[in-house]
């Protein structure tokens, strides 16, 4: 589903991503972990073609990310999700729906279904300026799920959410598991990663230190936090 081949990204003299090669299969729930400044967000931005790699190639479903076709069935949720303040949650979702080709009754039904799913029904007509951080994140999640995406790229999806919101997100992600959706999760919340994902990669200083299934990385007497600290310290 996602293939990063020898990807290097430099910002001036700083190498943010240092020759990473990684493959994420269809239906995989994958987490990218690493300390601040490890290069995780740079990878996410390259996946969406927000920034171009200095060298190497990135493919989604065999299509280079520079081709908008690669984003046809991709849902993206940013860490601090922003919604133009003059738009209501409903208008925002209608706009997203239109851009992915949903129109008319289909779009309205899909928007209503997702508003229900993210518990924002009843507040959708309010201007987003009146929304809390968590509410914006919920609307953002609904936008991400529009059009039944095949790949979800989630950059710290539970930031700003209360415990109920966090549980809701986890439930939604679990419900997608049977539909063959691939999830690329960039998160600091190790407990959430442990509950949600199958595989993970740990990044530090732009390099992938390890990529494997969570079960094979964590020993019986360890937690993900122990493993994370061990790898990051070893990586230094």
């Amino acid at each position: 589903m996602i293939a990063l081949n020898s990807v290097i990204k430099k910002f001036g003299t700083i190498t943010a991503v240092d020759n990473i090669t990684c493959r994420i299969e269809k239906g995989e729930y994958f987490a990218l972990l690493g300390p601040n400044g490890a290069g995780k967000t740079t990878v996410v931005r390259m996946l969406l073609d927000f920034i171009k790699p200095t060298s190497g190639s990135i493919l989604i479903d065999g299509i280079p990310v520079s081709n908008p076709e690669a984003r046809k069935r991709v849902g993206y949720l940013a860490e601090h999700h922003m919604i133009p303040s003059h738009l209501s949650g409903h208008e925002y979702l209608r706009r997203h729906a239109s851009l992915i080709g949903l129109a008319g009754k289909d779009a309205l039904m899909e928007v209503d279904r997702l508003l229900e799913e993210v518990s924002m029904k009843g507040r959708e007509k309010e201007k987003s300026a009146a929304y809390s951080k968590g509410m914006k994140q919920r609307i953002g999640l609904a936008a991400t799920l529009l059009g039944k995406p095949k790949l979800l790229i989630l950059d710290e999806p539970v930031t700003g959410l209360d415990p109920i919101g966090i549980r809701d997100v986890r439930k939604i992600l679990e419900s997608l598991r049977d539909n063959g959706v691939t999830v690329f999760l960039n998160s600091h919340l190790l407990s959430e990663v442990e509950k949600t994902c199958h595989t993970l990669a740990m990044m530090n200083n732009g390099k992938i230190l390890v990529k494997d299934s969570i079960r094979s990385i964590i020993d019986a007497d360890e937690t993900l936090e122990d493993v994370f600290i061990k790898y990051i310290q070893k990586g230094k």
Binding site: L48, F50, R71, K72, A78, S85, H86, S98, I100, A143
Partner: protein, 269 residues
């Protein structure tokens, strides 16, 4: 529907939701209402009563230029924040995380802003046209065509400000564009005055020298307005250099748009 058209539509709706748009709209309506009175008065020069139609025609020509110049400022204000606002409020991520080309986003944003200003200017010009018609019973030929001719200037300004705002702070890019227009107005306006029949008659020795190359190549925003004026006045148009000002401005629009697409395609979001 094509993504370009969708973004054009969103842009028109987004721009119309900003308070500044309604302030500008209110000021424009106020201006047109004030002008209305000019068509009702009785004017006399040296005790001789002037023909109402002649007065209306001259006033309308001046108002035409005032509206066209005012719209240049409005389009600067509306264009200068297109990209920075989108960046700040998440619209950029909204659009570019979806399957569309960056060029569709850029062209849609510019086209939306341009279309809105074009319609705005056309409505103001049409209001003057109709006012003259109602008050004097005479229609000014070419008035609305001239308005459409002037709209090419609005596109040039929208493209220039947007392009500069990719490099410079919004306000500086606006001031820079005003500077480009100002130099053109002084340079080309001076040329028009030197070549005017009145000056040639008054000073028989006033033979204008041929313009320097940079003045021929410079964006001819003022000359487009002068050309529009000649359409209203059905007078001859004194062109500067071999290239018609519409072609000159069109060339700059294409050049700057191409540069903007190239730069934005490489821009990091």
């Amino acid at each position: 529907m094509n993504n370009f058209l969708k973004i054009t539509g969103y842009t028109i709706r987004d721009q119309m939701r900003h308070k500044s748009f309604y302030v500008l709209l209110g000021l424009s309506i106020l201006f047109v209402l004030m002008i209305r009175g000019c068509y009702s008065g009785q004017y006399a020069v040296n005790g001789k009563q002037l023909n109402n139609i002649t007065v209306a025609w001259h006033v309308s020509k001046i108002v035409f230029q005032v509206i066209a110049s005012g719209m240049s400022l409005i389009v600067i204000l509306l264009s200068m924040k297109i990209f920075s606002r989108d960046h700040e409020d998440g619209s950029l991520v909204l659009f570019l995380s979806r399957p569309l080309f960056r060029r569709q986003y850029i062209l849609g944003r510019i086209a939306g802003t341009w279309f809105l200003c074009l319609a705005f200017m056309f409505i103001l010009h049409a209001t003057i046209f109709l006012t003259v018609w109602v008050k004097t019973g005479a229609a000014i030929p070419g008035y609305l065509t001239a308005s459409l001719v002037c709209s090419i200037n609005l596109l040039f300004i929208a493209v220039s400000v947007s392009f500069l705002s990719l490099y410079l702070p919004d306000f500086i890019s606006a001031v820079f564009t005003v500077g480009i227009l100002f130099v053109g107005y002084i340079s080309d306006g001076g040329h028009q005055i030197l070549n005017s029949e009145i000056l040639k008659t008054a000073v028989s020795s006033a033979a204008a020298s041929p313009p320097a190359l940079w003045r021929i190549l410079y964006p001819k925003v003022y000359m487009v307005q002068a050309y529009a004026d000649s359409i209203i006045g059905q007078s001859s148009f004194n062109n500067m250099g071999p290239l018609h000002p519409i072609l000159n401005v069109s060339f700059f629009i294409i050049l700057i748009t191409t540069l903007m697409l190239f730069v934005f395609n490489k821009k990091e979001i």
